[in-house]
């Protein structure tokens, strides 16, 4: 972009070209439009004493929006890889609740705390718990990956099974438990500036950056795209397709574990029956709205971040203008359908 020849064609023509051929561009434009409408809604909704007052309101609204969507945003990063590789992961919500419960049991300050029973408390216990929780999430994802790559199961079925099993087993195991978390642990998410919790947003941003890098610059990331586009050719190019697929699901499990850590530390507790339910659909929606192809091979991490934000901004907007909460799912559905219609591009 930006060279003399392209400048000649004029801004409008360039806009049209990008709109027609680049899915990321139209997603970005959609996001900007949403943000403008949201800002207008915020401004007209209440009267502000000064610009500073308005700005503070605007900023806090955004911080809470980003923070509330950090967990789903992180899970959607993993889901992006899964979908680009040609698969799907329905178990993320259940992995989330399983890892959450696992972490809380490790750190329980009550009589049943696993680490406490081994005489571990304080910061070392928390660090150990974090590592174990991430490993646990990765391991659960690895289980999906093994079923799919070595068990030759369709990803939809393998992860549908895992989804049911993990939630049910978690609920069963936690029936008699009510763990409480140490205060220090809550700092993981609650640390912040000026009373605002910024950490979840920071984790999301760092992970999005890392996943972007992996998707563009590493053999693993490029293999994920290659497999989604043509698995046979990729295998015939000497790539260990099964290993790559296993890693995709393990990576997703790992990211879900991070999301679970953030949420448990933020909220301090978890409802094992409902926490994380519907996460799989929210994550898939973010990925699809972000322009990643359901059939694999095409998509991007940036798109998914945009997609997560579009859904988030829309929810926020509905909230601001006071739309009945019963209708919010209808709008979400409309956004998904609308986004995919927008993304039908000319064949480049």
């Amino acid at each position: 972009m930006g060279n003399a020849e392209k400048n000649k064609t004029g801004l409008l023509a360039r806009f049209q070209l990008a709109w027609r051929t680049n899915p990321l561009f139209s997603t970005g434009v959609a996001l900007i439009v949403m943000v403008v409408v949201q800002t207008l809604a915020l401004t007209m909704n209440s009267s502000f004493a000064s610009f500073g007052d308005w700005f503070q309101n605007w900023l806090f609204n955004w911080i809470s929006l980003l923070r509330n969507n950090a967990a789903i945003g992180i899970i959607a990063l993993g889901m992006t890889f899964v979908i680009i590789s040609g698969g799907i992961d329905l178990s993320v919500g259940s992995v989330y609740v399983a890892v959450g419960a696992f972490t809380m049991m490790l750190l329980d300050t009550g009589a049943n705390g696993w680490l406490k029973a081994m005489g571990l408390t304080g910061v070392p216990a928390i660090l150990i718990a974090l590592v174990l929780a991430m490993l646990f999430g990765g391991l659960l994802g690895e289980g999906n990956g093994l079923l799919i790559s070595y068990g030759r199961m369709p990803p939809f079925i393998a992860t549908l099974g895992a989804m049911q099993i993990l939630r049910s087993v978690t609920q069963y195991c936690m029936k008699m438990q009510s763990p409480t978390l140490p205060e220090t642990y809550k700092g993981i998410a609650r640390l912040g500036i000026g009373g605002q919790q910024l950490m979840p947003i920071l984790y999301w941003a760092v992970l999005a950056g890392a996943m972007y890098f992996i998707s563009r610059q590493t053999t693993f990331g490029r293999y994920v795209f290659a497999i989604g586009s043509n698995e046979r050719t990729t295998r015939l190019s000497g790539v260990n397709v099964r290993k790559v697929k296993r890693r995709v699901y393990a990576l997703t499990g790992f990211l879900v574990a991070i999301a679970a850590i953030i949420q448990t530390s933020r909220i301090g507790s978890m409802d094992y029956a409902s926490a994380g339910s519907g996460f799989e659909m929210d994550a898939i929606a973010a990925v699809i709205v972000g322009g990643t192809s359901m059939s694999g091979g095409r998509g991007s991490i940036v798109g998914t971040v945009f997609g997560t934000l579009i859904v988030a901004v829309m929810n926020n907007l509905l909230n601001l203008i006071g739309v009945d909460p019963y209708l919010s799912a209808a709008f979400k559905g409309a956004i998904i359908i609308g986004a995919v219609l927008l993304q039908r591009k000319d064949k480049a």
């Binding site: 610059q217 590493t218 053999t219 693993f220 490029r222 293999y223 795209f225 290659a226 989604g228 586009s229 043509n230 046979r232 050719t233 990729t234 295998r235 015939l236 190019s237 000497g238 790539v239 260990n240 091979g297 095409r298 480049a348």
Partner: protein
């Protein structure tokens, strides 16, 4: 019924596919329609089957001139075309398949299964086959599927049946079953057109033959008294051998040896390959050569037998293993196996070597680009930018990109499966040059091809397969169109009885 096709012409663009072809068939005849790939057999039969219109000429059935604008009209007139890829739905029962699109219905639109089953039994009875119409098509072997297709033709009251290479996917006993069927029909006065490459089968089942070459009729007559050799010569013609590209080379040590490799589609194949050698594997469609070398490359599943790599026994069960040893494979069917359509030219041309040009899994794109450009220049790849999608290139250039990814890997053995499929003449010569250049550098090259000319021009040695077995091996001057065709159609090796199997 008698059928006559008179003075048929057909061309696609500037390409004359059929030139003044006349063809006739009477009830009770089995006529073989022979010719190499591209000779015009399928086009002629597609005209008869109503799939394609003729540019000129007429079709006369029982003295009446007819016009078939659609396959349905041809079928209504009693001509059934059984395509090579069978048109059966695996998940439906036999009778449902036989009546698909023409179901018998009761009042109210409900299907009358008993009536359909009864009619099927009736047809099977006439054909003398013992098949239960309620069996799922999935559970039938390939020969019975073929027979169901024939039965469907009879159910439609076809009196002429065109069979396009019906035996390619069948085993010997299955072939015999289909042939018995054909003889039964023949006695009942059905006329059959049998398109095949397998001359031994033609002698076994046909009463007449017609040979097409380059869109012209070159020979016809009764099968009685004809030999496989004569038919092969008719098919190939007296084409002068285009200049050979074979060169004298110092051959190095043996790199790869296979002993008694067997799987479903190939049996007891042994061969030895030396550095700097160009070894051809040829045969007809479905001869098993592709499956054989997919197994060697580790992508074809389990096999029996033993591979030796530089004298050491090895088992190759994954493509990573093959790549680590130094075996490369340029696959056939570029679209399915060769290119990754959503990736750019550079990525398509370098995926094999990413791990080597990466540190801690991070790809050094500069190095990748540099290596690719080096190959692209050598291969004369015509492209705008390496960032363009692979789909923006012509078939020949796409194939060169696929080649580039393997050349960069520096393999010791490189297998080319149908390397010039769908590639224009210029690119074809570039690919040949590359293959010979590799051999000169001491790479052992295997070329799998069904084009006899390709094998003759390129290879030092050719192994001819027939039904998954080594039918013979030809060295240097022994490789001629006729000889390859003869062996590929099931003829025996002459004199030299030594066989590498």
């Amino acid at each position: 019924m008698t059928l006559e096709m008179r003075n048929i012409y057909k061309s696609f663009g500037a390409n004359d596919v059929l030139k003044d072809i006349s063809f006739s068939l009477k009830g009770g005849e089995v006529c073989a329609l022979l010719g190499e790939n591209g000779a015009g057999k399928s086009t002629l039969m597609n005209i008869l089957g109503g799939v394609l219109p003729a540019d000129a000429g007429s079709i006369v059935l029982d003295g009446q001139e007819v016009q078939f604008s659609t396959p349905a009209k041809s079928l209504d007139a009693g001509i059934a075309f059984i395509h090579q890829e069978l048109n059966l739905v695996n998940d439906l029962a036999i009778f449902e398949n036989m009546f698909i699109g023409r179901e018998i219905k009761r009042k109210g639109g409900f299907l009358d299964a008993p009536a359909m089953i009864a009619q099927c039994r009736d047809v099977f009875g006439r054909m003398d086959v013992d098949l239960d119409p309620t069996v799922m098509v999935r559970d039938l072997d390939a020969s019975y599927k073929q027979i169901v297709e024939i039965a469907r033709a009879l159910l439609m009251r076809a009196s002429i049946i065109i069979m396009d290479e019906p035996t390619t996917s069948l085993t010997d006993p299955e072939i015999e079953r289909v042939f018995d069927m054909m003889r039964t029909l023949q006695k009942q006065g059905v006329g059959i057109v049998f398109i095949s490459h397998k001359l031994k089968e033609v002698l076994a089942v046909c009463t007449r033959y017609t040979v097409l070459r380059d869109g012209a009729m070159v020979a016809q007559g009764p099968v009685e008294g004809v030999t496989v050799d004569e038919l092969a010569t008719h098919m190939v013609g007296h084409q002068v051998r285009t200049e050979s590209l074979r060169q004298e080379r110092e051959l190095g040590e043996e790199v790869l040896r296979a002993e008694h490799l067997s799987q479903d589609r190939f049996q007891d194949v042994s061969f030895s390959l030396r550095a700097g050698e160009v070894l051809g594997f040829t045969g007809l469609l479905g001869d098993g050569r592709s499956e054989l070398f997919q197994a060697v490359f580790g992508s074809g599943g389990r096999y029996q037998g033993q591979l030796y790599w530089q004298g050491q026994p090895v088992q190759v069960h994954s493509t990573q293993q093959a790549l680590a040893l130094g075996i490369g494979y340029v696959p056939r069917d570029r679209k399915e196996n060769g290119i990754i359509k959503d990736m750019d030219i550079l990525e398509n041309g370098s995926i094999v070597t990413w791990p080597r040009q990466a540190r801690w899994g991070v790809i050094a794109w500069d190095k990748v680009r540099e290596a690719f450009f080096q190959q692209a220049a050598g291969l004369k790849i015509k492209m705008d930018s390496e960032k363009d999608g692979i789909g923006s290139l012509s078939g020949g250039n796409q194939q060169k990109v696929v080649l580039a990814k393997w050349l960069n890997a520096g393999p010791k053995v490189l297998i080319f499966d149908n390397p010039t499929q769908g590639v224009d003449v210029g690119a074809k010569e570039d690919i040949y040059d590359t293959i010979l250049e590799l051999a000169n550098q001491g790479v052992a090259v295997v070329v799998l091809s069904s084009e006899a000319q390709e094998v003759i021009r390129l290879c030092d040695r050719a192994v001819v397969l027939y039904h998954g077995r080594v039918q013979g091996e030809l060295v240097g001057e022994e490789m001629t169109d006729q000889e390859i065709m003869r062996l590929a159609t099931g003829g025996e090796m002459r004199e030299r009885v030594e066989n590498c199997g």
